[in-house]
């Protein structure tokens, strides 16, 4: 079983790992379904917290990806760009989008733990 306790979650359903990798949650991939295109930022790009960093498009609709914290893009996942269905198959491992050099670790304080995120989901109105 994958340990999700080291991840932090945003209300917009992105997760970030301690080393700055960013992806979307299992809940989000299920809601979005069938991801067919992924737009990820280029290496070197500086992002502000909650800035739109890219987007994912599924058969259903397009969804923005927001940066959970500020930082510079230091790596991108070329594999997910080639095979976007990885977002559905493996949202917490192979389906990550890009990696940030975290500018200010304090910004992660406002994000949720996996348990808090699960509680947060219960308060969200199901979007179908």
């Amino acid at each position: 079983m994958l340990n999700l306790n080291h991840l932090k979650f945003a209300k917009t359903h992105e997760w970030i790992s301690p080393d700055g990798k960013i992806g979307i949650s299992e809940h989000a991939q299920k809601e979005i379904t069938d991801v067919v295109f992924v737009d990820i930022p280029s290496i070197g790009k500086s992002l502000a917290k909650e800035e739109e960093a890219g987007s994912i498009e599924s058969v259903k609709a397009a969804f923005p990806i927001y940066a959970p914290c500020s930082g510079k893009v230091i790596a991108v996942n070329e594999n997910v760009a080639k095979d976007p269905s990885m977002v559905n198959q493996s949202p917490y491992e192979n389906g990550w989008f890009f990696q940030l050099e975290i500018k200010d670790a304090n910004e992660l304080q406002n994000l949720m733990t996996h348990d808090q995120y699960q509680e947060f989901l219960k308060t969200e109105v199901p979007s179908h």
Binding site: T33, V59, K60, S85, H128
Partner: protein, 361 residues
């Protein structure tokens, strides 16, 4: 696909099965329908490669009977129903006097003077009222939509799956009424996916049993239960229009096509005069099919550009799982050539006009 949640959605006889088996459900045309079980793309590909089964019990069934049935249907329909021999099926539009499309339907000729008309869920009551209003001669019209379930079994392996369950399978575009366990079931070799297959209409209370039998018989063929999501991507890839999106009363049959659906050499039918006028030079716009030349997915309502000018809106758009590109339909003015683009997720993506179907085997 247009979806909207209504306070009191109707349930098909398979609703509990869908819920138990993890379907994601949405409101569609007043019904709470399964939109997908696992993945739209997976279900789509199952139908293209093997087989899939769809709950389409929301569809309406109207019976038209009597010695005047053919004449009445001829007056109602744009297509030539006299060409539909007993045991055959024909697709048609029903128009209002302005040529606007009241519904797109399938007419099945069951026996002499008895026709089954399969109509859209959202329009079943409107159609019945329209038909009743137009009624003349010895004709009885019965709206039996609420007493029937309907299952579509589609895909290259659909007929071999069906052969395990039924002795008699109708030929392509044919139909058959069968008495099984004292219940009448209608087998129609038609569909909405571009694949071979059957649409089976049966009493509501028998629907679940048949659904489970089909799933069991299809196990070795990798048959999957499929939701309305895959039904929508399949029908668009195959170039079939969706009533309420691509065809409606605001657009005429001449504008929407397909061209063969209107038989202007047929004697009078409702809407003929208006359609004839359009044919003779008054046609201003038409439904075109677009393939995107770059990455992007057109959606219902996306803007269609010709050069820099907005000339229309996408009526249906999706990602084609077979072609792996964005595809769309939309109404645009006549006589525009080249240089189309469609706005997808804020970006203008070049698009080329193409013939239907988008995908052909």
């Amino acid at each position: 696909m247009k979806t909207h949640i209504e306070p009191q959605l109707k349930h098909t006889p398979l609703y509990d099965w869908h819920k138990k088996n993890g379907a994601k459900c949405v409101g569609f045309a007043g019904w709470e329908m399964a939109v997908l079980y696992t993945s739209i793309v997976e279900e789509h590909l199952a139908v293209r490669k093997n087989a899939g089964v769809f709950d389409i019990s929301h569809m309406g069934q109207i019976f038209v009977e009597g010695t005047g049935a053919l004449n009445f249907l001829q007056k109602l329909c744009t297509n030539d129903i006299s060409k539909c021999r007993v045991g055959h099926a024909i697709y048609s539009h029903i128009c209002n006097t302005e040529g606007g499309v009241v519904d797109d339907i399938f007419v099945y000729s069951l026996v002499l003077n008895q026709y089954l008309v399969v109509v859209n869920a959202s329009t079943a009551n409107k159609d019945f009222d329209w038909m009743t209003k137009q009624k003349e001669g010895d004709v009885t019209i019965r709206n039996e939509s609420d007493s029937f379930g309907m299952i579509a079994l589609q895909g290259p392996k659909a007929i071999s799956v069906a052969s395990k369950l039924f002795k008699n399978i109708p030929g392509r575009h044919e139909c058959l009424a069968e008495n099984i366990q004292n219940e009448t079931m209608f087998f129609c070799r038609t569909g909405y996916t571009g694949e071979d297959g059957l649409e089976i209409i049966l009493p509501e209370e028998n629907t679940l049993e048949l659904w489970e039998k089909i799933l069991f018989a299809g196990k070795d063929s990798n048959l999957l239960p499929c939701g309305l999501g895959a039904r929508d991507t399949l029908r668009l890839e195959a170039g079939y229009l969706l009533y309420g999106n691509d065809v409606d009363e605001e657009h005429t049959s001449m504008e929407s096509g397909p061209s063969w659906v209107v038989k202007l050499n047929k004697e009078n039918f409702i809407g003929k005069e208006a359609l004839l006028k359009q044919k003779n030079g008054e046609l201003k716009k038409h439904l075109l099919a677009f393939k995107l030349k770059d990455r992007g997915i057109p959606r219902h309502g996306s803007k269609i550009f010709h050069q820099e000018e907005v000339v229309g809106q996408v009526t249906s758009g999706t990602f084609s799982p077979m072609l792996k590109i964005g595809i769309a339909l939309g109404y645009v003015p006549l006589n525009l050539e080249g240089n189309f683009s469609i706005e997808c997720n804020g970006k203008k993506i070049p698009a080329e006009v193409t013939k239907l179907p988008f995908y052909n085997k």
